[in-house]
């Protein structure tokens, strides 16, 4: 049970002057109940990779398997993969269309031929999971606040009960409280055994949230491992396309000076450790 990406390659517009290699030899593994982050700059291939996980794009070379089903053009496999892997695009509020929140929520499940009873059940459940009250059901999705719209979009994908959820910059454009709330809710999904693939260009966010991080640059893997090992590596040598979050830059400076302080994003822990160092 996992998503396995095996030396995946993708070429856009093959054989034309617009031919571009978007991905080259990328490996990745996502298990249910884990949070994996894919980090890279614009044009690093992270969005292309995201669409492969959901069979919106098919491999030019290599393979993608979702719970043992390879993504191919074969229609039944295609639908199976799309059902298992929910994909939330960047600024998902741009895809709202229904007359009511209820209809918006039911769109996915209805496409996957859920029974009406099942749709009602899954709607109530996922709305609760994403902190949306049931009073909203009859409202127009366009009347909701920005944060609510964002959560509704994620809920509407989640309503189809996918095993994995791929999110492209889910917190883009949100303010601090909205962001914190959303990240907390997503963290809750991991506890429900959903595998989360978080695509972002915010390294600090990835380091704080993910169990495993894949760093892409120009379609190639430049790092794959735990946040801890990524921090260690970042301080040793700069990784192309990534800049150090300020707090790690500080840690690095402190260590150069001779303080034995750990690589951490936790400001309080760092302050405590530094105090101990200074006092001894």
């Amino acid at each position: 049970m996992s998503i396995r990406v095996d030396s995946l390659g993708h070429v856009y517009h093959p054989g034309t002057p617009l031919e571009t290699k978007a991905l080259c030899g990328v490996d990745l593994m996502v298990e249910p109940g884990t949070w994996v982050a894919i980090v890279g700059q614009t044009g690093s291939g992270k969005s292309t990779l995201a669409q492969h996980l959901n069979a919106l794009l098919l491999p030019t070379s290599g393979s993608v398997e979702v719970d043992g089903i390879p993504t191919t053009a074969e229609p039944s496999a295609l639908r199976m993969v799309r059902r298992k892997v929910g994909l939330v695009f960047q600024y998902p509020e741009h895809q709202l269309f229904a007359e009511s929140v209820l209809e918006e929520m039911a769109f996915g499940p209805r496409n996957w031929k859920f029974s009406e009873e099942d749709i009602r059940e899954t709607t109530t459940r996922t709305m609760k999971l994403l902190g949306l009250s049931e009073e909203l059901l009859t409202r127009s999705p366009f009347q909701l606040s920005g944060g609510q719209k964002r959560r509704l979009c994620i809920a509407s994908v989640l309503a189809a009960r996918p095993d994995y959820l791929v999110l492209d910059e889910p917190t883009a454009g949100m303010d601090a409280p909205g962001r914190r709330e959303l990240l907390g809710l997503l963290k809750g999904l991991v506890k429900e055994r959903i595998g989360i693939v978080h695509i972002t260009h915010d390294l600090e966010l990835a380091l704080a949230m993910a169990e495993r991080i894949l760093v892409l640059e120009k379609g190639k893997t430049v790092f794959c491992g735990t946040p801890g090992s990524l921090m260690d590596e970042l301080v040793e040598r700069p990784i192309r396309g990534l800049c150090l979050p300020p707090i790690l830059e500080l840690v690095s400076g402190l260590r150069d000076y001779g303080y034995h302080v750990p690589f951490t994003l936790d400001a309080v822990e760092l302050a405590d450790r530094l105090e101990k160092e200074i006092r001894t």
Partner: protein, 275 residues
């Protein structure tokens, strides 16, 4: 001009047509020439409304908004105000009019009715200032998000304004694009341009000379950066994330390991901690 306020808002309120609660409620604010003002606050605090008032895109429903001494409510001042104050909006795609880079930069000066030669000069100068001189003849749709936003800035600068208002201009950009935009702002500030920067990211305002916090349509706090970072327990209420460095330096200041005046920048912290 130098001693005069670029903006003077007196008891400004604004209510959108059809809305019950005002988006802005009794705002008093003056911004001096050469200031870099960071306008921060949670979503829905009225930041964007305030920005549009500064450019006379909106007219206060109560109170007065003066731009370089001109009242925005007066129809006759409209074009003069808009050539003094330029705006850059959040979505770069929605402010580019032309299909070719230089034609887009020329759009503003053309509206001012300037002679061809001067437009050419301004276009080249502004493209250089944002580092897009090589893209002069490039089609606009082929630019990256960061480049599009730089183009929007060039288009705003081509009006030769005394003030630039940026309404969440970096919100849709990646770290590289954001850094590029901030670098341009730093250079503009050096040349004496007044900047009003709207954002909800504290790590972007580290160059601001003044900070104004908006909440529910009112100014909840105003001061400088050192003052802002010395505030306690307000960040959550204001809808802001406290950067880890602020938290860190505050902890050390509490334990007297850092001087109170030290700002939470990596360079300053290292200078103080590693003498």
């Amino acid at each position: 001009m130098h001693n005069e306020d670029v903006f003077a808002l007196r008891g400004v309120s604004f209510t959108y047509p059809g809305a019950i609660t005002p988006a802005l409620d009794g705002v008093d604010l003056s911004i001096r020439n050469g200031d870099w003002v960071a306008l921060i606050g949670a979503n829905g605090s009225g930041k964007s409304t305030l920005a549009k008032l500064l450019n006379a895109l909106l007219i206060p429903t109560r109170g007065d908004c003066l731009v370089c001494g001109l009242k925005t409510g007066n129809e006759d001042n409209l074009w003069s105000i808009r050539s003094h104050v330029s705006m850059v909006f959040q979505n770069p795609d929605n402010q580019i009019v032309a299909s070719v880079v230089e034609e887009d930069v020329a759009f503003g000066p053309e509206n001012l009715g300037l002679p061809s030669l001067e437009i050419h000069e301004r276009v080249l100068d502004c493209l250089c200032r944002v580092g897009l001189e090589e893209k002069r003849r490039a089609p606009t749709y082929a630019l990256s998000g960061g480049q599009k936003q730089r183009l929007a800035i060039a288009g705003a600068l081509a009006m030769q304004p005394c003030c630039l208002v940026l309404d969440e201009a970096t919100a849709m950009l990646d770290p590289q694009g954001r850094e590029d935009v901030l670098k341009i702002l730093r250079n503009l500030h050096k040349t004496g341009m007044t900047l009003v920067q709207i954002t909800h990211r504290l790590d972007e305002i580290l160059d601001a000379t003044r900070v104004v916090v908006l909440g529910k349509g009112r100014i909840t706090w105003a001061g400088d950066l050192a003052g802002l970072f010395a505030m306690k327990d307000c960040f959550d209420e204001w809808g802001l994330e406290m950067p880890p460095l602020v938290r860190f330096s505050r902890k050390l200041q509490e334990r007297n390991l850092l001087p109170k005046a030290c700002l939470p920048f990596v360079k300053e912290l290292l200078e103080n901690l590693c003498p």
